[in-house]
């Protein structure tokens, strides 16, 4: 059976070689280098690749790619190379024509597996083919691959491919990439300096990375400063570099013996206990460093252990050397140009970061404004602190979640959820005012506690109904993504939407308070409830409506916050303290005050976070401390009511 199969295979192979009587150029090259292709070595494969490149035919690209991807197979019988197709027996595909030219058993073929070094050589050879490939996707992929792993030998093919690039956008990318590569790898100083100067106007991350790579340094130590090195910095021991680190550098440069650590001393002593004594010192006395040093020195003098490195040794060794950093790039002109460019880039990045920070602060401020404005209104009009305000925010967010369960279209569901959340929390606020708060108007501290009772009950209720895990409130597709100005400045569309929502509510509230009958009455009650009542205003009704309005805005804020944060039963508690802060800092009973408070707190929080980005907890701590101090100087907030209305 096996014999028959062999016979069959031999017949096919004969037929194949017969069919291709006139070998193409590729075939010829393959035949010449058959051994190198079968077992390629990284150092010698270049020769094969050069010959292949010299052919310059389209099938060479295909061949190099397949070879690199370990898809090239060799028939053991005659050393011919094929690509393989599907099926059993396996289809053999000719490397030149791309046609199926026969079949073979698995055992007759040898898959060629070039090692990583060879594949890298193949890859860079491929790049120049791909850079001028007729298919634009291939060209883009090649540019991407260079951008990921830039190498010196890619520069020439990249430059060569630019003039013939038909696609304008890709041409621009190629030119930019060529600039980056020139800055790093070009052979002439002038070309590199020119490229670096051209890049100094950009602020993207890859340009910064290139500059940092050019400016990479290596710490060195020597007896005297060398003349021929490109020195980046000379360290002053004690100021730039600690003595311990400096000595460690000496040790790693093998210019000084290593310090013997305390552990090693102890182990050495323990290993040399001799009848209750170590080096003439009783073991029981070895509980101070001085006694241990004495014992160890005695051992060292006896030659059993390496000598101790004393502090005096360390400082004299450190003082007799210079410590400096050199650029790995030897060319001074290039590093100087790169330093200048990096400084310019850093300045521009700094300015853009300031802009980004401003946007972040603005976005946070608008969230705090939405969360706090309802609280500020109720506090201002009624002198009542509503601890359950955070839970109204939570109710609004859960309303949005429930609406999305019934209306799968996200845009529509948000449009439904906003007024519904307002209606539900308005109702809840009015109910709370009627049932609880109006009985406690003369006892403001107890309102605080009663509303706190409502707050924990509502929170636990939400937990019982919706569970403890976070619920999603998905934003519509057109709010996904971010508005990216450049590599530094970007802001997500949701935050822009929240900012716009906050602006709308600012305008709406100003209109209601200043231009409507209700607003007039609300302002009257805020200023003097007794007088307002004697003018025919019903303070009870005003209180109820104000409380409902404040709660309703909290519900809308809940939908907005739920869009970018998780909806949980505790989400209200996360915002309540910040909302209080906003109200207290801004001043009570005034929309502008709340706006000022929200801006101050939002910008402050982002600013502190910027100084200490790793530690948001610390940022919040410092912010609260700042607010406590701020209250010292403006106890009534930024915008304080004047005159008798300020009251107490």
């Amino acid at each position: 059976m096996r014999f028959l199969a062999l016979l069959f295979a031999a017949a096919i192979s004969l037929g194949v070689s017969g069919a291709q009587a006139q070998p193409t150029d590729l075939k010829a090259v393959l035949e010449v280098h058959a051994e190198q292709i079968e077992r390629p070595k990284r150092l010698q494969v270049g020769e094969v690749v050069n010959d292949l490149i010299a052919l310059g035919t389209p099938e060479v690209t295909e061949f190099l790619q397949r070879w690199q991807n370990r898809e090239l197979h060799m028939r053991e019988a005659d050393g011919q190379f094929f690509y393989v197709g599907e099926g059993t027996p396996i289809e053999l595909i000719d490397v030149v024509s791309g046609q199926v030219v026969g079949t073979a058993q698995d055992s007759e073929l040898k898959q060629l597996r070039p090692n990583a070094g060879v594949r890298r050589v193949l890859g860079s050879a491929l790049v120049q083919f791909q850079l001028s490939d007729p298919n634009i996707l291939r060209r883009v992929a090649a540019v991407d691959s260079i951008a990921r792993r830039p190498q010196a030998d890619q520069l020439a093919p990249l430059l060569a491919s630019i003039p013939d690039e038909p696609d304008a956008a890709l041409k621009e990318r190629k030119e930019r990439l060529a600039g980056l590569l020139t800055a790093r790898f070009d052979e002439t100083t002038d070309a590199r300096v020119a490229a670096i100067e051209a890049l100094s106007g950009e602020l993207s991350l890859d340009v910064q990375a290139v500059m940092n790579q050019i400016l990479a340094t290596r710490d060195q130590v020597a007896v005297a400063l060398p003349e021929d090195e490109n020195i980046a910095e000379i360290y002053e021991v004690g100021a730039d570099l600690g003595t311990v680190e400096a000595y460690a550098q000496l040790v790693s440069a093998e210019l000084a013996p290593a310090v013997i650590p305390n552990d090693a001393i102890r182990n050495a002593l323990a290993a040399n206990i001799d009848g209750g004594f170590v080096g003439g010192v009783p073991v029981a006395q070895l509980n101070t460093d001085a006694a241990r040093a004495t014992a160890y020195t005695a051992l060292a003098e006896a030659g059993t252990v390496p000598p101790l490195v004393t502090d005096a040794d360390i400082s004299s060794a450190v003082q007799s050397h210079v410590f400096y950093a050199i650029y790995t790039e030897p060319d001074v002109a290039v590093t100087d140009a790169a330093n200048d460019a990096l400084n310019e880039i850093t300045t521009r990045v700094g300015m853009n970061q300031a802009l980004d920070l401003t946007l972040d602060g603005l976005s946070l401020a608008s969230i705090y404004f939405l969360a706090a404005i309802g609280l500020a209104i109720t506090f201002g009009v009624m002198g009542v602190i509503n601890m359950a305000h955070g839970e109204f925010i939570m109710m609004g967010a859960y309303t949005g979640y429930v609406v999305q369960l019934f209306i799968p279209d996200y845009t529509l569901s948000i449009l439904v959820a906003l007024p519904l959340a307002f209606a539900i929390t308005f109702g809840a606020g009015v109910a709370m005012e009627r049932l609880v708060i109006r009985w406690l108007y003369h006892r403001p501290l107890e309102t605080l506690l009663a509303t706190f009772g409502i707050s924990i009950a509502l929170q636990q209720l939400a937990k019982n109904i919706f569970g403890t895990q976070a619920r999603p409130l998905t934003s519509p597709g057109w709010l996904d993504g971010a508005w990216v100005m450049n590599d530094v400045v970007s802001i997500s569309y949701i935050r822009i939407a929240i900012f716009i929502l906050a602006l709308i509510f600012l305008g709406l509230l100003l209109f209601i308070l200043n231009k409507t009958r209700l607003g007039l009455e609300v302002r009257a009650v805020t200023q003097n409830p007794g007088m307002a009542a004697s003018m025919g205003i019903n303070p009870d009704r005003i209180n109820m409506l104000t409380f409902g309005l404040g709660s309703g805005i909290a519900g809308i804020a809940g939908v907005a916050i739920g869009l970018y944060a998780k909806v949980t039963s505790e989400m209200g508690a996360d915002y309540i303290v910040q909302s209080f802060m906003t109200v207290v800092v801004g001043g009570v009973g005034n929309v502008w005050g709340t706006l000022a408070g929200a801006s101050l707190i939002g910008f402050l929080q982002k600013g502190i976070e910027w100084f200490n980005p790793a530690n948001t907890l610390a940022a919040q701590t410092y912010m609260i401390l700042f607010i406590i101090l701020f209250i010292q100087f403006r106890p009534k907030g930024i915008v304080a009511l004047k005159g008798r209305a300020a009251g107490d």
Partner: protein, 388 residues
């Protein structure tokens, strides 16, 4: 003088008597010194409850008598706990480290011992260095001083700043809440020097007293808590009676009038605020060795609000009301949340009290505020038939 003080405050005698009877009863029922009817863990719960009663009394003085709704007293409680916890943890770790190092061939140096302790304590936050705030942790005496000084100084500085700028009412409440939140957030950081989120643990092991066993140690702490509660009660009864008590209550009722009468209102408020903070610190120092662990979550603002809830339910403006409120609500709370309360089947839904206890607490709290502003303590008025 002493006689007239007792005469004016008959409730002090009654309270001390009740506390003594209770302590005696628990002692008789304890495992270590009596017939063993109460488990060690229950003794610890009772001891902790006494500490909570003590801080509730302090809260009652500052809120019910002086009208300052502080939402920060549990922070002082926690600071006291941290102060004693630092010594407990240091001394306990020192014992372990010295024991293990003494087994080595070479006796340890002082530095090796300290490094060993540092690695043991701060390993969880990836450090081994002692932060500056642990400078006194080796000494019980100094750390006991810290129990009093740290909450006292914080209250003094904070109170001075707040009262000086006439921050009152809800503003002050929010400011104290902000202080608590800032402190809790600070302690949550790993580099705060107090082991961040992990807090201090193993506090129930008292260094040098391991041979006594937890049953005995729990009774010692129970007695200490009872004595502290008794002493604190007498102290606050004395503070709130007499001329000073009148001024303090006057401040609660109308601060401006008291000021116009020539009293320096800020000093009185600062005195009350600081004194109660110190007592809160002492209560915390007694509480946490019984609890065994303290972490920043303990001093989150919600804890201080619960404290206000206990006092309100127990009855403000009377010291025994605070004790009743704290004991009643905290024991009831652990009964409900611990699964002790039977579930109520409603046919279509079964009320699990672990889920619904907070709803009940919240609603009953609103009800107490609305309908029984005098709290549980108000019931005594009906019994004694005395004018409120």
């Amino acid at each position: 003088m002493e006689r007239s003080f007792i005469m004016r405050n008959p409730s002090v005698l009654w309270f001390l008597l009740a506390l003594a009877v209770f302590t005696l009863g628990v002692t008789i029922l304890s495992e270590a010194f009596g017939i063993g009817g109460l488990s060690t863990s229950f003794i610890k719960t009772l001891g902790k409850t006494l500490c909570l009663c003590l801080i509730a009394v302090a809260m009652d003085v500052v809120w019910g008598y002086c009208g300052i709704l502080s939402l920060g007293h549990f922070a002082f409680f926690g600071l006291g706990g941290y102060a004693i916890g630092m010594w407990l943890m240091y001394a306990r770790t020192e014992e372990i480290v010295v024991n293990s190092l003494n087994e080595a061939a070479i006796p340890p140096t002082q530095q090796e011992i300290i490094d060993g302790i540092g690695t043991q304590i701060f390993g969880v936050v990836g450090s081994s260095e002692f932060p500056l705030i642990w400078a006194f942790s080796h000494s019980l005496g100094l750390q006991l001083l810290m129990v009093v000084l740290v909450p006292g100084l914080l209250a003094l500085v904070f109170g001075w700043l707040a009262f000086r700028s006439r921050v009152t009412g809800v503003y002050l409440s929010i400011l104290t809440q902000a202080m608590t939140l800032a402190l809790a957030l600070y302690l949550f950081q790993n580099d705060s020097g107090l082991r961040g989120n992990n807090g201090l643990s193993g506090l129930q092991n008292i260094p040098g007293l391991d041979h006594l066993g937890q049953a005995t140690i729990s009774m010692w702490f129970f007695w200490a808590s009872a004595i502290a509660l008794g002493a604190g009660y007498v102290l606050f009864a004395w503070v709130t009676s007499g001329k000073m008590g009148s001024v303090i209550r006057g401040i609660r009722d109308d601060e401006s009038r008291v000021r116009f009468l020539g009293y320096h209102v800020e000093s009185y408020k600062l005195f009350v605020f600081t004194l109660t903070a110190v007592v809160a610190g002492i209560a915390g120092a007694l509480y946490y060795p019984q609890a065994g662990i303290i972490n920043p979550a303990e001093i989150a603002p919600i804890a201080s609000i619960y404290l206000a809830v206990w006092v309100a339910i127990g009855g403000r403006g009377r010291l025994y009301g605070a004790v009743i409120g704290a004991a009643f609500v905290s024991l009831l709370s652990s009964w409900f949340t611990g699964g002790g309360a039977p579930s109520i089947p409603l046919g279509f839904y079964t009320i699990q009290w672990t889920d619904w206890w907070l709803v009940l607490l919240g609603v009953s709290f609103v009800a107490v505020t609305l309908f029984f502003p005098k709290g549980i303590g108000g019931l005594f008025d009906y019994l004694v038939r005395k004018d409120p």
